[in-house]
Amino acid sequence: MIEFALDEGSGVATYLQLAQQVRQALRLGMLEPGERLPTAQQVVARLAINPNTVLKAYRELEREGLVRARPGQGTFVLRALPGTDPAVQARFLASMTGWLRSARAAGLGPDDVEAIYHTAFRDCFAEGVA
């Protein structure tokens, strides 16, 4: 079952953060088609946010065709995100982990790593998706 987290200072609307976390979970294979998302009740019991926010996030995902709400039963994942091949994911996860370890061994701290990452990211994905 996916666990949501909230970044209050980011300025990004809560429902967007929740939707994004579902998409990321789908990409990483942590959520699979047919699995049920936590109910609004379960989410707000942990996060102390408005249930309408959760429902709004789920509606957004439903609009994208990623999930489907079945009345009385819950909200279920419909499909994985396109372009996610778990094997490819695993390979890049491994290489990223290796790179991070080398950077750390070379004396780079978290802020340095983030600055490098963001600069490279911006160059590569010029549209700046959050």
């Binding site: 300025g11 609307a13 009740q41 019991a45 942990r46 102390a48 946010i49 408005n50």
Partner: protein
Amino acid sequence: MSTVIETRGLGKKYGRRWALRDCTLAIPAGQVVGLVGPNGAGKSTLLHLAVGLRTPTLGVITVFGGRPADSPAQLGRAGFVAQDTPVYARLSVADHLRMGAWLNPDWDGELAARRIERLGLDPHQRAGSLSGGQRAQLALTLAIAKRPGLLILDEPVASLDPLARREFLQDLMEIVAEHEVSVVLSSHLIADLERVCDYLVVLIASQVQLAGEVSELLAEHRRLSGPRRDPGRLPASQEIVEETHTDKQSLLLIRTSEPILDPAWAVTPVSVEDLVLAYMRRAGSAGGARRPGLEVVS
């Protein structure tokens, strides 16, 4: 959308002081409504008027279309948690549940018992020896177990420590999700309200300064920063809430429904907290500015 609380020109006077004035609101159902403002702004007064603990001096207030506390049926429609959650100190937790069962026609005893057990409260413990957080949970249990359509809470977390506050809000949101009950919640802690509310009423100096859906309010307000200039040159559809000027820079918080076309301004969104604070500062300076105005007679 239906409304749970409607007021028209509502006012309440204590002695010579108006605690609430010109209050006209239509609070929608099915939402968590935050009532925010500084202490003494009139929040408790408005909520007490809504549950019938006080009667209006002027104007009208209706809850679900009826006059508050008029009849047992009307009393059953709204559950109330008062500030500092008063309980009968010498009666036990179980005694309070009995009271709920005896005094409320639509009492859900199972729900109450389940909640007490899940909260870990000892039914035989005297309510006076409960912690602040436990008392708040007991009061919330009493309010929700009568199955109201509306829960009204007056600063329920103000005197709780941060952990108890968080647990209370988690619990409250779970109740909202499970029972689809409307909530009106007052606080002077804006950060808490930001998490849980989707409708906001800002009450400052006994008057409503702002009221609306949070998403709409955030969409309508913008922070503008740019080189120092006279704000009189903004279009009329853009209302200035707050302006600060240094010798080189102007910072404005404006309310508008139209896009900002002037490229000289850098536009950033506003958080709920910044919004409320700006309106509070505006209300504070409006009171102060009046006085010099009276003195300028030369």
